[in-house]
Amino acid sequence: MPALHEIQELFKESLLGGASSALLDLVEADGLDPEACLAVYRHHVFTTLTAALEAAFPVVCRLVDPRFFAYAADAFVRQHPPAGPCLDEYGGAFADFLAAFEASTHLSWLPDVARLEWAIHRATNAPAAEPLDPVRLARVAAADMARLRFVPIPGLAYLASPWPVDAIWRAHQEPVRMLPDLAAGSVCLEVTRSAEGIRVRSLDLLSFTFRRTLAEGHTLGEAAEGASHLDLMDLIRHFLEANIFGSFTVATAEGA
């Protein structure tokens, strides 16, 4: 009699790959073909996981058409089944998968559209947070400013792409099938969640690098390296207006 763990591994192989004869031999003949019985379970697994991916990547789905999306999702589920039961957290590896997926390599902008959608999806599901009160920042001693470390609000994400993925994303909020001018060139994007909803901002390279460096946990001094004093005042003013950080700490000399 096979152990439970062995049966469950055989079941997994049979769902994600083809039905294993070792598993089929364990199934009682109740008048139904054991392969047909397994197919009921497999069908549910693939349709629900494909639906979860469609919910996270609606624009990718519109861009490639639902049949191709289902084909890609099928291959993705087999290679990358979810690790846990919260399906709104499933799909983080989909953009990298698409980048390597042979059938869509000609759509070179597609993985970055998927990255943007994943950032938006994560921001949508992030817990709400109060943005930083600028008054608190004004109280920081000038000598401590360079050692400030900011804590991003949940869901904050940065994405640089050689393609105008924000324009592609906006043009496909409804099922229209027209690509914007791909020659429009590269973009540096910031995705945030606020009380008003999700916001996708296009930033200049300086702001993008500065804010992303801060969001990665570097100090203000580190992020400001190379920026002039005037630039820095502007950068700080703009990131405060953007409500992208929730709090800050002053790094100790050792940890700085």
Partner: protein, 286 residues
């Protein structure tokens, strides 16, 4: 068991598409049930659940704990469930007699167990762990079956009864699942109801199923995509006659209808429940 709650009434499974209408109209439905997995990341869904909870008793009906896995329980998921239970103060907490996780992969389905002493030991250990972590009793639901394992040494009802004895857990008797399993793998639904320990049954589920053809044989698919079937209403009356009036929930997940259709199904269940309450009171008086 549940002070001040509208007990022995019929509620509905609440899905995201109906939330805003429910919050606007506040229909007189006695209680609601949600899947906790949809409220674990934070985000706008959690705020809606809090708003719903202010006006309605809410039951948390888990689908992701994988109590039957031969691996360890997912501690992170259990911690998140505990946190949601603390925040929501649900009237009931339930899970399934099934498994979904093996070797780090979560296979999004309630997969079947062989009913053996080994499985019983695994599920019982996990139910005890979960009940300790949550600090409360759970109800465990019978799954819809599409296959059975040859080497099962006991029936499903016997397994659930033993699990309840061993862990103190309650039983969620899904009457639609029982009907689906009876047709697909030849369970005797009446004998099944007789085998379940009546005092342990703390909730009943009702839902619709699809009737499919597989190579000339009928196979019922538990898709929660239609009204409760006549045969399931008949079995529901039998379940109430056996268990007494038990809080009942109507689930609908695919091809979601208008909210009123779902409320109408719950209203029908409520009528049948009221008859059962009447019978119980009559029996007490006699």
């Amino acid at each position: 068991m549940l002070a001040g709650a509208p007990w022995a009434r019929a509620g509905i499974g609440l899905r995201s598409r109906h939330v805003s209408e429910l919050l606007t109209r506040r229909p007189a439905v006695p209680w609601l049930e949600v899947h906790p997995e949809n409220f674990m990341s934070g985000g706008t869904a959690c705020a809606s659940l809090e708003a719903v909870r202010r006006d309605y008793p809410v039951s948390l009906h888990g689908v992701g704990l994988s109590l039957g896995t031969a691996d360890e329980l997912d501690r992170r998921h259990l911690d998140r469930l505990r946190s949601l239970v603390d925040r929501t103060q649900p009237c009931l907490v339930s899970e399934h007699l099934s498994w979904s996780t093996t070797g780090g992969a979560y296979l999004n389905h309630l997969l079947p167990l062989p009913y053996t002493e080994e499985s019983l030991a695994v599920v019982a250990e996990h139910v005890v762990q979960a009940q300790e972590a949550l600090g409360r009793r759970m109800l465990i639901e019978n799954p819809s079956s599409y296959l059975r394992f040859r080497h099962s040494s006991m029936g499903e009802a016997e397994f659930l009864a033993a699990l309840s004895r061993r862990t103190g857990c309650g039983i969620l008797c899904d009457v639609n699942n029982l009907h689906v399993s009876a047709c697909n793998v030849g369970l005797d639904a009446d004998a099944y109801l007789e085998m379940l320990p009546a005092p342990a049954v703390g909730e009943i589920h009702l839902a619709g199923h699809a009737v499919n053809d597989a190579d000339g044989r009928t196979i019922l698919i538990d898709d929660h995509g239609s009204r409760v079937a006549l045969a399931v209403w008949v079995l529901y009356r039998k379940a109430l006659a056996r268990f007494g009036p038990v809080p009942t929930l109507v689930e609908w997940d695919t091809d979601l209808p208008e909210l009123d259709v779902l409320l109408g199904e719950a209203h029908t269940a409520d009528g049948i429940l009221a008859e059962a309450v009447g019978r119980t009171e009559h029996a007490r008086a006699a």
